[in-house]
Amino acid sequence: MTPTSRKWSFVALLAALPLVAFPAFAQSGVGENYRWLTFTVFAAVIAITMYVTYLAAKRVRSAADFYTAGGGVSGLQNGWAIAGDYLSAASFLGIAGLISLYGYDGFMYSVGWLVAYITVLLLIAEPCRNIGRYTLSDILAYRNDPKKTRIVGALSTITVSTFYLTAQMVGGGVLVKTLIGINYETSVVAVGILMLAYVLFGGMVATTWVQIIKAVLLVAASIVIVLLVWAPYGFSLPAFLADVVADPKVQARVSSLLGDPAKAMTAAELGQRFLEPGLYFKAPIDQISLGMALVFGTAGLPHILMRFFTVRTAVQARRSVVWAMAIIGGFYVLTLFLGFGAAHLVGPADIAAVDAGGNMAGPLLAQYIGGGPNSFFGNFMLAFVSAVAFATIVAVVAGLVLASASAMAHDLFVGVIRAGKETTARGQVLAARVATLIVGAMSIGIGIAAKGQNVAVLVGLAFAVAASANFPCVLLTLYWKRCNTAGIVTGMLVGTIAAVGLTLVSPNLTYPIAVKAAAHKILDAEPAKRSAALQALHSADAAAAAKAAKDLAAIDKSVTKANADLAKWANDHTSFMGLEKPLFELKNPGLISIPLGFLGVILGSLLIRDRRAENLWSEVYARQNTGLRVSESVAI
């Protein structure tokens, strides 16, 4: 593209966006009278990021500019960008939601997401900066057969990113729909087009800035909400939590989670139970397996690794991780207050009524703290948090698309298909843009096709594949002399197949027999429950009557859902994989598939020797430790 044609296509894309996004505001979460507020906040966020993209687009001339912002990012900037790349909607809204619904377990879940960065800091970030260039496969291809390792590395990058991307697109579509009331397809297309505008024109420069802006907005919004929630307690943790556990809404939630055993407990005990483990995680082994996937998988996520190529030296790479850990960890500590604050002020029942997974806890808390649904400030806060959520999805998706597109263009096209031939700087940038367009169109298509599917499993799966395939390969090629091409190819295949295969036969899939059995159980219990509630409805006690009315509504809802499930699965007996029940009991395959991936690399390397890989060991090891020649792999 010439600069002029690029400029015009940018303007055209920009002009098309409001047509897609704005007339579709139908039944917004923000009150009728404040609709303009949502418009203004969204328009402001989009305008800022678009302006940054416009400036960035002028600077993208070479492949290095496109993939790594020319290596011109500082450690502090990169730390914020990593936080922006990593804090997806799942962790930002999801964890606050888990805490608001399940208390302690939700907070415990957030810890693994931070600890993961220790692995990145100690073992991966600096060596990768010193020997890598644009992609994960660059590291693998350094001392191994470039074609073979680029192919497996690119395939794994695309696999991991596509799983993650699908989860983001579907989750994002649902979220935007709930938050601002535009329909699902429109929000997927809006996310897709915005993301494409950033990546296509601004490459890594724009992506980095969008991620930084989003991370700053996210942290700022969270700090404001936490200050408002916590200040009344004089910033005392015990005083705040004492109010949370004394809340009847929280006690009622614990009681309904525990079922029969709750009857023997006092109100105070029920409240205190909210701060104790075991309300969400039932099988400890599941949590350990998930923890392994998180702690080792983050170091194998291509879109995170790619961020270390945007800084110039290993020292800056180290600084970026330390900053990222401060921001990400600080944010998760804030979610403790967001989650418990939402449980206390909004109430678990009301949060779950809007979204069963608790994703709306943060936004609802923002609205409450601002003054409620009918106040200006309440609606402003809701609009602001919604805009941050939207920016979050776009920023994460942009990073993922860039990682996939670089694997496609830099590894497969330039490195394999045109191996040995000269590709000009313009040719490389063009290839990168075409790949971005392909991946972007694909992500919109997948997002729409996967509507209504259970995608929560895909994030866990992305981490599992990254931990079982990418992590062993990257780690061993950096630290083990005997590691070679055969090891990398075997490890990638074994790790990916084990992680995907075990997930396909795990309890994560829908098993119609179990779904139907659960539905029948609900329907069988319905008449007794309904008559009990009806009796209570006519009781003299107003509070009991109100509770009965609520119970009746809940019964109606569960019956509708049970009937819908029965109809949906009427003709099915087996899961997608043709199984009646899971063959493998772990929800996350990490515990088994990570050791298998390592075994694959080790056995492959030992069985088939490769002189070249061993001869290049000195170079790889000396370079990764000394940073010699790093400037050659940074921007030219």
Binding site: V52, L122, A206, Q272, R312, V315, G329, S618, L628
Partner: protein, 120 residues
Amino acid sequence: MSKPDVDWDAIIRDPDFQSLHRRKMVFLWGLMALSVTFYFLLPIGAAYFQDLFKIRVWGVVNVGLLFALSEFIVAWTIAVVYSRKASRDFDRMAEKIAAKFGGANRSRKTVAPAHKELSV
């Protein structure tokens, strides 16, 4: 990718490099083991030592909650300890080795402008 003017094998054999390698291995893998062990104590404790986690120590705040918060402190501490150690020791040692073996490499470089910040 190897260029004849840097003798990588000689770097690997160099006593300074050997010493850097040894110190880094002990330090990095030591911190790694510490961090992974401490992390997995949390889910293990939450699953098998619930009575301990439930003990209230600071108002309603119990051992489990403090332990989860301590995970953050420990992770940050490890990050700070490592980056201080790296910038005090490892970086200096690496620079010394790079200067000894890559002098030609450094002076030959014409690219890399002295740290250009990302700006738009």
